[in-house]
């Protein structure tokens, strides 16, 4: 048997597994369903948003990818898994404390699909955050401008959790 035929057979098996993942929309590591953008939205779109509060009382609305240094598409799921887990509440509180500490004192820069952390000024640190599940209505901002953000299409928010240092 020639190496080339072994290779082609291995490729065929791999293709069949990938095809299965794509058709049934299942991610089975390391195989991927290629479903990052392959969604059909019905009605309003749900997305997690984070509202950060500063010492002077100002607040800003950001996405999960702006508050933790992971790929933007992984950030929402990380926060959801942590705040809905049945884990020890002390561990979760420690995570929340670390989240604010990281934003205030260890900001990070953009790298690949990891967003830059939300800007924090020297004398105006972040002291609290609230997480909401927002319902987005894209029709509200059908024509985009360079300043358009997710905030422009929020039609309703549902409180999820909060932390205050």
């Amino acid at each position: 048997m020639h190496i080339s035929s072994v290779l082609v057979t291995a490729l065929c098996v791999s293709v069949l597994i990938q095809l299965y993942c794509v058709i049934f929309n299942v991610n089975k590591w390391p195989f991927v369903a290629q479903n990052m953008f392959a969604h059909k939205y019905k009605g309003l779109i749900k997305r997690m948003v984070v509202v950060l509060y500063r010492e002077n009382g100002n607040k800003c609305l950001v996405l999960p990818g702006d508050v933790i240094p992971v790929a933007f598409f992984r950030a929402q799921r990380v926060l959801l898994n942590i705040y809905t887990s049945k884990a020890n509440s002390e561990n979760i509180e420690q995570f929340s404390r670390d989240l604010l500490h990281r934003l205030n004192y260890q900001p990070w820069t953009k790298f690949d699909e990891i967003n830059k952390s939300v800007a924090c000024s020297e004398n105006n640190k972040f002291i609290a955050f609230k997480i909401y599940i927002a319902e987005l209505d894209l029709i509200k901002e059908e024509r985009l401008t360079k300043n358009s953000t997710i905030e422009d299409v929020i039609s309703k928010t549902h409180f999820f959790c909060e932390y205050r240092s």
Binding site: I3, Q18, W29, P30, V70, V78, A87, S148
Partner: protein, 266 residues
Amino acid sequence: MLSYQMFFQSNLISKVLAFTILALVASREYGIFLPSIEPIMLSDSSFKEEAKIFSLVQFYPVARAFLIGSCILVFIGVYPAITVTLLVIGFLFLDCYFANLTPEVWPNFFHLHFIGICCILLESLRYLEFPAMPASPEVFTTVYQVIFIQIGLIYFFSGLAKLIHGGVAWAHNAESLHLILLMRGSSLGKLILSRPFPRRMAGTGTIIFELFVPVLLFIPNGFVYLSISAFLFHMATYAFIRISFWHLWGFFPALIFEILRSSGRI
């Protein structure tokens, strides 16, 4: 003793793989954050059971140092057959660990694992003799072609997933594109795709490109056209929505070089 001959011992694709994994492993995502959430996830028994997560937190600095060391050795060209194997297995292990922390999210490094396994084969073929399986120069070309077929399939499956799960509406309504522009669109992206019509055109173009780009592999020197068109596609997505997918197109020059070298054209 290191020498310049040593550098050229290993395949150029292995060097790109080493550089790519080094950049990822040295990054903050791999470096600091994800292992820090492991204790939380492990203290949730239901998650632990569902995700089949294994603990790495104590050994994480060692695992990371091992991978960084392997990357450097592969890049220099020290015993490539051994170091590439260690690198690929180490990265498989670490990526599996991270994927398990968020099992619902798509694992986006399949192509790296696939190319990694091909690199093990490429490096091993240089040193090992299989009497029953002779390694001719054509075998190397076949490995490069298999990598290109897999790359073409990544685009094809991506287009197919959009068609199956998003339907024609995915391109016609272009809601995914609209949403991603709001979430991380660049000024240029929001300017050019500001109205529904150009978004619809971009959505349709994306599906057509992804479904038909593997066809290029059927024409002579198609791998060059595929590389150029895929690179331009990724540059466009980077310019509009700041997603580069650099860890895939970074391999194109190395693959083209090695194909031309194995066929005697360089």
